[in-house]
Amino acid sequence: MPATIEKETSSESIAIDRDIGNFKYKEDYSYDAGTGLSEKTVEYISNVKNEEEWVRDFRLKALKIFESKPTPTHWASKDLENIDYSKIRYYLSKGQQPSRTWDEVPDDVKETFERLGIPEQERKFLAGVEAQFDSEAAYSNMKTKLAEEGVIFVGSTEGLKEHPEIFRKFFGKVIPTGDNKFSALNSAVFSGGSFIYVPPGVHVKQPLQAYFRINAENFGQFERTLIIADEGSEVTYMEGCTAPKFETTTLHSAVVELVAMKGARIQYITVQNWSENVFNLVTKRGMAMEDATIKWIDCNIGSRLTMKYPGVILKGRGARGEVLSIALANDGQHQDTGAKMIHAANDTTSNIIAKSISVGTGRSSYRGLVQMPKHLKNCKNNTECDALLINTNSRTDTYPAINVRGDGNSVQHEASVSKVSAEQIFYMQQRGLSEAQAMSLAVNGFVNDLIREFPMEYSVELKRLIDLQMEGSVG
């Protein structure tokens, strides 16, 4: 563990306070692709990264697909029309290579991390940190033990360059470029993100973690993550985001692909807390082979508009997919989240539990897809969506689609909408709690069974984030 980390512990406790993300440093970028999107931008990014021909072609093809696809406002929020692609910067970088030792990390980057509390967390439980400062991985430190076991944990650029034999096979295969407009956009301009390979039988005991930050105005972040868990291996990946507040909107459009080979388990945890001007349009999908399990734990608290529907393609017999999702929409926010389960083999099971809380004028939507084709037997899905409405002008929607063929499968879907009952609040007030405390307790009770699924550090952070969001919503 680098010595510098010890020094800063006095500055902050665990970074939970939202305001901690609310600062920024002087923008000083060695590489800048300028604003707007054209073939030149894409070629520029590819040149800076010194990419091979096939990656460049992949990007250019994706750009064409992005341009040809309409914005999906026939079903999605009209707010998407407010994204001005010509005003966004698509690539920024410090120009530094991903560094292995703490000493090599530039000072202002360190400061950012310190305020976010990354070293704190690392000291506690992290096996390795891949913290992303804007586009490039700024710091990458993996425990020697993991490296010895053959676990690869690198940035996307490094992954494609140095381990093409491992990553090329699945890169863009789980989420094809043309899957949707935003996966195409990401495929054209992606930079940053993590590429992880876990060899057969290896159980990565501690979660791998990466922090993402956006630190330049009008700068979209397009990270690309690919995790491959080979036969019988296990890995947990955590992704948390905080971003400084800006006046104008920023765009975040990631693509995350997971591949769980036979018997492997991948757990992917996200706490999304972008500032309230960020469009967060993310495509996440996993492919689970025979007896493999993929579990998405997805928590959305920040952003202006989030559209994210983590999915699992259950490709091998006995595969299992799970999505646990918490969304909290406050004033001016729209959390449009959900899940997709594509059953493609016998005996596959999937489970979706989604809970949302709408506060003030916040709007939370659940959108889901469950598909079971006719040649399958013994597939099961269970979906539960619960929504809690706090204020009279809060809004919630549910738009699931369930398509089942054949008499061998079963699906059940349930959704409910409710508010915190006046009796509950009265009861707690009568026991001496303020109305706000009572409300907070009730809301925490609503999401508690889901929050318990998170690793301990996250569940503490989440509860406090929810408390902060609830402040001032009552009375």
């Binding site: 929504a387 002008n393 809060s394 699931p400 054949g406 349930e414």
Partner: protein
């Protein structure tokens, strides 16, 4: 109606001037409306222009997601011409399901063949062809003022432009009629298009029950049916409406229905979808006054290549209303069902109770059921839930019946009856319940049984 006269088939070769997709056909239809008031003719003309202007549905349209849109062509359908007497006779013979009723109308190809007059004073039970002139003012106040608008706008417009008849039922304030009014609508002849319209207005505190039966004279005629039924329940009114859709399996059908419920009214509707190669059912429920309560049930038993496409909207526009929706489908062979429902609760509609349930029973390996149960909630003091399940018969229940020596087919049938019990038990009218059971049973046999299942 297997014994229907074949003369209809021979006589009605598709006349180009009557084609429903042509303006000549539309003009021709207008000429036949002798009693139509000016406002209605104008409405028809403007709806015809609307029909021409609107595009055909495509699979990309959200309102048609998962539905087949390739077979919606209106080519080859024409407005009906006069029926031969033999056909009229056989239609009349097959139009008496009920022994006791408050009123009856029999339509064949939208032409009125028989009507029993209502005896209650102030109550109007009239074919629309007469109501146009006799009750023009009342009709104008309600006719097509509230439409489903759930994706079939083009066909709604077509209906408005081409409809010529149907039943008009007005029940004055405080009047209670417990026996059902029954309207039979039969389509006869190859390529005939029918546009049955039902309009029920229950004034404050009135109570009424109406049944629509939709059927075909023959099994093998390709028909187009585009019906609309609108129910207006005034303050405190109680309306019960059942539609039995038993068009033949060659028919393309639309049933575009609305319920408008005022303060403290109680409405219950049941849609039974048995026939049609492709049936599109739309049901738009609007709760306009506090205390309104609407129950909406539907069951379908598709076989072969049938598709039943159901779109619903429960729109809560006033506080303290309740709505409950239950759609059940039991699918055999290669059939498909789509259920797409939405509960919409307006910001001011506090204390709403709204429920929506879709249950699909897949009885074959190639049947396909899709559920799109949706919620849009803008108020916070609500109790809303939806549930959707798709599954197969319970193996243990099936095993139990098989072990008692009951054949697999029969055991399936019994379990499906059990599955539908939740809806069929809502039918208070015993005659209707018995008929319904035999109709459902029929869909389990290659040849229709003569008796109900216990026979």
């Amino acid at each position: 109606m297997a014994n229907a006269n074949t003369s209809t088939l021979e006589r009605e070769s598709p006349a180009a001037t009557n084609s429903i997709a042509s303006t000549e056909g539309f003009d021709h239809g207008l000429e036949r409306l002798e009693n139509a008031p000016q406002w209605l003719l104008e409405l028809k003309r403007s709806q015809w222009r609307e029909f021409l202007a609107l595009p055909m549905p495509t699979p990309k349209a959200e309102a048609w997601r998962f539905a087949r849109t390739g077979n919606l062509s209106l080519e080859g359908y024409q407005l009906p011409t006069d029926l031969p007497d033999a056909d009229k006779k056989s239609v009349l013979e097959s139009s008496h399901l009920f022994e006791s009723f408050a009123g009856k109308m029999v339509f064949a190809n939208d032409q009125l063949l028989e009507q029993t007059a209502a005896t209650q004073e102030g109550l109007i039970w009239s074919p629309l062809s007469n109501a146009m002139s006799e009750h023009g003012a009342l009709l104008r106040k309600f006719f097509m003022t509230f439409t489903p608008d759930l994706g079939s706008e083009k066909f709604q417009a077509l209906h408005a432009a081409l409809f010529s008849n149907g039943s008009f039922l007005y029940v004055p304030a405080g009047m209670e009629v417990s026996l059902p009014f029954v309207a039979y609508h039969t389509a006869c002849g190859q390529g005939t298009a029918v546009f049955p319209h039902t309009l029920v207005i229950a004034d404050a505190g009135a109570k009424v029950h109406l049944v629509d039966i939709f059927q075909s004279a023959r099994k093998d005629t390709k028909n187009f049916a585009c019906g609309m039924a609108s129910i207006f329940a005034g303050p405190g009114a109680q309306v019960s409406y059942q539609a039995i859709q038993e068009w033949n399996l060659e028919t393309l059908s639309f049933h575009l229905n609305t319920v408008s419920a005022e303060r403290d009214s109680n409405v219950e509707t049941i849609m039974v979808s048995l026939g049609s190669r492709q049936a599109r059912n739309e049901q738009h429920i609007s709760l306009n006054g506090p205390g309104g309560n609407v129950d909406n049930y539907s069951l379908s038993v598709p076989i072969g290549n049938q598709e039943v496409d159901q779109r619903t909207l429960q729109s809560h526009k006033a506080p303290s209303c309740r709505s409950n929706l239950l759609y059940k489908n039991a699918l055999q062979d290669d059939s498909r069902t789509v259920f797409s429902g939405l509960i919409k609760v307006a910001e001011l509609a506090q204390q709403t109770d709204a429920y929506q349930t879709n249950r699909n029973l897949l009885l074959s390996n190639s049947a396909e059921a899709t559920s799109l149960p949706g919620l849009e909630i803008l108020a916070n003091d609500v109790k809303c839930s939806h549930g959707a399940t798709s599954g197969k018969l319970d193996e243990e229940q099936l095993y139990y019946l098989l072990s008692r020596g009951i054949s697999r087919k029969r055991a399936q049938e019994l379990l499906v009856f059990g599955f539908f019990e939740e809806i069929t038990s809502q039918l208070e009218n015993e005659e209707l319940r018995e008929h319904l059971n035999s109709w459902i049973g029929r869909k389990f046999h290659a040849t229709p049984p003569t008796k109900n299942l216990e026979g």
